[in-house]
C-alpha cells in the first residue's frame, strides 16, 4: 500500500505521521490521531458532520485526502475551546439555547460557524440559515441552532468590545 510522510499542525500542535495516500483527512484525524470529535455521517459530502477548519476555512474532511493537508493547519472541534476547563463562547451559546440534542452534527456546525462568524460577526437569521445549510441535523429542527448562533454572535461581539 502506498504511504507518505506528512507534517500537519492540528489544533496548534505539530503532528508527523506516515499515512496511506488513499486515507481521507477525516479517517486520519479519527483513526491515526484519535481525534474522534470529528464525526463521520455520510462520507460523501452531504451531511457536514465531518467539517473541520483548514487554514481557518471550513471544509468537509471526508472530501480531502490526508496527504493534501501536508504543511497545513487543521482545527477540529477539540481545538476550539480556549482551555480544557472552559468552553468557547459559541459552545456556551449552544448549551444555553438547546443548540444540540444527540450532538452528532454539532462538531461540524461549530466549526462551520466559527468561520462564518469571523467573516460575518453580526449576521441576520436568514444568513445563519444559509451558512449552516450544508450541515444536516435530525434532532433540533434547527431552531435552537439558529438561536445559538445569533446569541453567540452577540456574545462574541461583546467580548471584542469589552
Amino acid at each position: 500500500m502506498e504511504t507518505r510522510k506528512i507534517g500537519v499542525t492540528v489544533n496548534g500542535q505539530r503532528r508527523e505521521a506516515e499515512v496511506e495516500t488513499r486515507f481521507t483527512l477525516a479517517d486520519f484525524l479519527r483513526q491515526q490521531l484519535g481525534l474522534t470529535g470529528t464525526h463521520l455521517g455520510c462520507e460523501h459530502g452531504v451531511c457536514g458532520a465531518c467539517t473541520v477548519l483548514l487554514d481557518g476555512y471550513s471544509v468537509r474532511s471526508c472530501l480531502m485526502l490526508a496527504v493534501q493537508a501536508n504543511e497545513h493547519e487543521i482545527t477540529t472541534v477539540e481545538g476550539i475551546a480556549p482551555s480544557k476547563t472552559e468552553l468557547h463562547l459559541l459552545q456556551e451559546a449552544f448549551r444555553d439555547n438547546h443548540g444540540l440534542q444527540c450532538g452528532f452534527c454539532t462538531p461540524g456546525i461549530l466549526t462551520t460557524l466559527i468561520e462564518f462568524l469571523r467573516e460575518n460577526p453580526d449576521p441576520t437569521e436568514a444568513e445563519v440559515r444559509i451558512a449552516i445549510s450544508g450541515n444536516l441535523c435530525r434532532c433540533t429542527g434547527y431552531q435552537g441552532i439558529v438561536a445559538a448562533a445569533l446569541d453567540a454572535a452577540k456574545r462574541m461581539q461583546g467580548e471584542k468590545r469589552g
Binding site: H44, V59, L63, M64, G134
Partner: protein, 289 residues
C-alpha cells in the same frame, strides 16, 4: 478508509501534470475533490493513479483582460464568490455561485472541476453557456481554445482528449449596467438545480432590447441556449407580454426525466424560470426608464 488503492501524484506545474496524464495508465485528475472524492469513497471510480492539481499554483487566478474575465481552472469557488471584480463586472456569475453547494464545498471546489464534471444542473456550467465562454485545454502539443458550446461531448462528458486538461476559461463581459439574473428551482438550498435559468439583457436608448442571452440548465444532457427565445426578444420593447411569449418555446424543449422530476415537469419549469429570469434581469438594468 473508503477510497480504493491508487498511486498519488502531486505535480507543481501544468507541464508535469500533462506529462503524467500522458504516460500513466487509468489516471484521474483531482481538483477540488467535491465530486471525485465522493465517487472514490463510494468506489464508483477506480483510478490507478490520482493526479492532484492542488499544488499547481499557476492555475489559480482571476483577472479582467481584454473585455473578459479570465479564471484559472484551480481557482476556488470561494474566490469567485468573494471577488469584487466578479460581483461588479459579472454579476450573473456572482448570483449563480451563491447557489453552488455550500460554504464548505465552495472553500474547496474549483471552476475547472465543475466545468469538467459537466453536470447539466451545475450553476457554473450554465453560466459558461450563458456567457459564451471559451475554455483553454492543455495537452502535450500545447494549448487550444474551444468555445464552450463545443465543450460538452455528451452527458457529463467534456470534449477533452485523454492526455488533455482544462487549464482556464474566459468569460466575455457584457456592457456595464446590463440586466442579469440566475434563478433555479431545487428541493433544498445548495442542491443541484432541478432546472435553472440564466438571463442577460441589454436595452438600447429607444427601450428596445439590443442583446439577449437565455440559458436553461438541468433540463437537458447539457445546458442549452434558448435561441428561439433570444431571437424573439432582440429588436422588441421589453414587456411582460414579450417575455411570456418569448419563453413559450422554452416550455417545449426535449427535457430529460429522472428520479428528481419527470420530463414534463422540467419542461414546465424551463418556461416559468426563463420568464422569471428575464423579468428579474430587466428590472436590474441600470438607467432603465
Amino acid at each position: 478508509m473508503k477510497p480504493p488503492p491508487f498511486h498519488y501524484h502531486d505535480p507543481e506545474t501544468v507541464a508535469e501534470a500533462v506529462a503524467l496524464l500522458g504516460c500513466l495508465e487509468n489516471p484521474k485528475l483531482l481538483a477540488g475533490g467535491q465530486s471525485l472524492m465522493p465517487m472514490l469513497n463510494m468506489r464508483y471510480v477506480l483510478p490507478d493513479h490520482v493526479i492532484d492539481l492542488n499544488r499547481v499554483k499557476a492555475l489559480s487566478y482571476l483577472r479582467e483582460s481584454g473585455g473578459a474575465l479570465e479564471i484559472g481552472a484551480m481557482t476556488r469557488q470561494r474566490d469567485i464568490e468573494f471577488s469584487d471584480l466578479v460581483r461588479n463586472r459579472c454579476p450573473l456569475m456572482h448570483e449563480a455561485i451563491l447557489q453552488v453547494g455550500h460554504r464548505q464545498t465552495r472553500n474547496r471546489g474549483t471552476l475547472g472541476g465543475s466545468l469538467c464534471q459537466l453536470d447539466p444542473a451545475a450553476e457554473l456550467v450554465t453560466v459558461a453557456a450563458a456567457l459564451d465562454a471559451t475554455v483553454t485545454l492543455t495537452g502535450p502539443k500545447g494549448r487550444r481554445e474551444l468555445s464552450f458550446a463545443g465543450f460538452p461531448a455528451g452527458y457529463m462528458t467534456p470534449a477533452l482528449e485523454p492526455d488533455e486538461m482544462l487549464t482556464g476559461a474566459r468569460f466575455p463581459l457584457w456592457a456595464k449596467g446590463h440586466g442579469h439574473a440566475f434563478v433555479e428551482f431545487s428541493r433544498r438550498h445548495g442542491d443541484f438545480a432541478v432546472v435553472s435559468a440564466a438571463a442577460l439583457l441589454e436595452v438600447g436608448a429607444s427601450g428596445k432590447i439590443t442583446r439577449a442571452s437565455v440559458t436553461i440548465g438541468g433540463a437537458t444532457p447539457a445546458p442549452i441556449r434558448a435561441r428561439e427565445a433570444e431571437r424573439a426578444l432582440v429588436g422588441n420593447a421589453a414587456s411582460s407580454t414579450l417575455f411570456r411569449d418569448a419563453c413559450e418555446s422554452c416550455g417545449k424543449i426535449e427535457a430529460v426525466g429522472d428520479v428528481h422530476a419527470p420530463a414534463s415537469y422540467r419542461r414546465h419549469l424551463a418556461g416559468v424560470l426563463a420568464r422569471r429570469a428575464l423579468e428579474k434581469a430587466h428590472a436590474r438594468i441600470e438607467g432603465r426608464k
